[in-house]
């Protein structure tokens, strides 16, 4: 191919150089255009979400954010319940997922016998690639029935009447709900956060680590006083990337959340999240204002996740440029 295109034998050197210049312009222009497409996608998403939700924005105003009612028949829509569900399931997921991920990362970088390090690391990375619908499927068929019959009755009996936190554990054991969704999300973000925190831990210079051990520090002291402070920014970034995943996750949650548009004080009650509401109701939305309200939910989710992911990216980027 290179020979067939080579014009040097028949043309003068000058015109071949100018042809190369034009080809260069076309090539570099095409790459720049592709980069513009990437930026254009984001702008397109923003514009389409705004135009799609304009009807709901003008009709409900900012009150949309704190209205709990969601009544397709009377065409009154409010985002409070899905926002609450989105935030709470993600908080539960982070509360469980982050400590466990950190534990696994500490195990992998400090304790694990070198022979097991690679296989476990690879397994974690492969698990991070499993689609979220599988987690949802498992949550729906295995975890939810198990929690309903074995765990939730216990929680209701033993914590239900406790002062202060008792309200979190009341009502019948549905199996599906905020609590179950939070656990499924936690399991889903686990490999993801672990893969990042492990990589961040590995950025600690060996010299620093070995000096600390040489001073007589225990493994835990090395982790807590050397590794964690050194990787602080990257850790927060990794956790926020996981949070971004959890906030926007659709399929893992939709199966087990119960799709109920209400804010209940109990963690065991069915609820909904922004993405679950869109996934469940979008194709059933019959009136334009219903569709528009669902798109406005999408817009809210976009703003929340974009902020979280942007911050995470900024923090992780600061680590990479060390």
């Amino acid at each position: 191919m290179a020979v067939a295109e080579d014009p040097a034998s028949t043309e003068t050197a000058g015109s071949s150089a100018s042809r190369a210049l034009i080809q260069d312009r076309i090539f570099v222009g095409a790459t720049a255009l592709s980069a513009i497409i990437v930026v254009g996608i984001l702008l397109g998403v923003i514009v389409s979400l705004f135009t799609g939700s304009w009807e709901a924005i003008t009709r409900f105003g900012v009150g949309f954010l704190w209205t709990e009612r969601w009544n397709p028949v009377k065409e009154i829509f409010g985002a409070a319940a899905p926002i609450y569900g989105t935030v709470l399931t993600s908080v539960i997921a982070m509360a469980i997922g982050v400590p466990v991920s950190l534990g696994i990362s500490i195990f992998l970088t400090e304790i694990c016998p070198p022979r097991l390090r690679r296989p476990i690391g690879i397994a974690i990375e492969l698990l991070a690639g499993i689609p979220s619908i599988i987690y949802g499927l498992w949550g729906f068929f295995v975890l939810a029935p198990y929690l309903q019959h074995n765990v939730q009755p216990f929680m209701i009996d033993h914590f239900g009447s406790t002062p202060l936190i008792g309200a979190l554990f009341q009502g019948p054991p549905y199996g599906i709900g905020l609590f179950t969704a939070g656990i499924v999300l936690a399991i889903m973000v686990l490999p993801f956060i672990t893969a990042i925190t492990r990589d961040v831990f590995l950025t600690v210079p060996t010299l620093l680590r070995e000096s600390a051990y040489g001073m007589g520090m225990t493994t835990w002291e090395v982790v807590w006083k050397i590794v964690v402070p050194y990787t602080r920014v990257g850790l927060v970034g990794g956790v926020m990337l996981g949070l971004g995943r959890a906030l926007g996750e659709t399929m893992a949650v939709t199966f087990v959340i119960g799709n109920a548009h209400r804010i209940s004080s109990s963690l065991l009650a069915p609820a909904t999240t922004i993405s679950a509401a869109i996934a469940n109701e979008f194709t059933e939305a019959t009136s334009p204002i219903y569709t528009s309200s669902l798109i406005e939910l999408g817009l809210i989710l976009f703003i929340i996740t974009f902020t979280v992911l942007g911050l995470a990216k900024w923090l992780v980027g600061r680590v990479e440029s060390y």
């Binding site: 397109g44 619908i133 498992w138 399929m251």
Partner: protein, 279 residues
């Protein structure tokens, strides 16, 4: 002195036990999921799964139309996303050099990489479904393409960064124009790395459900018309799993195993490709 020492040792022991426990618990749950998937999925894995259509409730059937639909949409999406992703990655790794467009596109691409896929679905719905008045496989492929693009873009950037500058300089010193340096020298050096990115993009796209729910929708029947709704594995899994019919739930597990196995195989190939490169 000795109490402080034993306190430190105790603290260390507790922390280490907790770390091991976290690993055991975490791996247990992940193994439990894979185990259920394998047990339920293998029970549903019959030859009929690949040759018969999605059945009405209570009837025998398979997932042939859904498998075909998924293959079609994945193929179209990756075929479109790959050249754009590679070119954009080339610009960001080679030519942008701190320009505003370069910095913005890098940042936006990384955010798009983990942006909620359901938002992509909403975007495609408003731009490709509403104007044409109906759901279509084209819209589904477009949604998947938007998810594949950032993956290809990011891996291309990373892989081009690994190509030694001396190669570019040597080619430039021979008088090669910039496009020739890229196409005949740098892309060749980074070939397996870029291929890894494409495989990762296919893996990522194969399991995506949310963006297909209201773009490609679903189709009970065999359809090869990309301008009509088309069955696809993820949406069929979603709908069949939530149905009250045992046959449908069984098919959902079969589909889930198929999707997961495909993704695992793609990921493993991608990893071994990346490793041969780094060796």
């Amino acid at each position: 002195m000795s109490t402080l020492y034993s306190q430190r040792r105790l603290g260390n022991a507790i922390a280490m036990v907790l770390a091991v426990a976290a690993t055991v618990v975490g791996l247990f749950f992940l193994a439990a999921i894979l185990w259920t998937l394998l047990a339920e999925g293998l029970a549903a894995a019959t030859p009929a799964l690949f040759v018969e259509m999605t059945p009405p409730p209570g009837d025998d059937g398979g997932l042939a139309n859904a498998i075909f639909g998924s293959l079609m949409m994945t193929m179209v999406s990756v075929l479109v996303a790959t050249p754009i992703g590679i070119l954009a990655g080339t610009y960001l790794a080679e030519y942008s050099r701190g320009s505003l467009l370069g910095e913005a596109a890098k940042f936006i691409n990384d955010v798009l990489l983990s942006a909620p896929s359901i938002i992509v679905g909403l975007f495609v719905y408003t731009t490709l479904v509403v104007p044409f008045g109906h759901f279509s496989a084209w819209a589904g492929a477009a949604a998947l393409g938007l998810i594949a693009l950032p993956v290809v873009n990011r891996t291309t950037q990373d892989m081009l960064a690994l190509v030694p500058n001396t190669l570019r300089e040597a080619a430039a010193a021979l008088g090669a124009p910039r496009w020739r340096i890229m196409v005949f020298v740098v892309y060749r050096a980074a070939r397996s790395g870029i291929l890894t990115g494409v495989l990762l993009a296919i893996a990522r796209v194969s399991g995506e459900t949310a963006p297909l729910l209201f773009t490609a929708l679903n189709n009970q029947f065999w359809s090869t018309d990309m301008s009509q709704p088309m069955a696809n594995l993820p949406v069929v899994i979603f709908q069949f799993a939530l149905s009250p019919y045992d046959d449908w739930q069984k098919l959902a597990w079969g589909g889930a195993l198929l999707v997961t196995a495909t993704i695992l195989v793609l990921n493993i190939i991608a990893r071994s490709l990346a490793r041969t490169r780094s060796n």
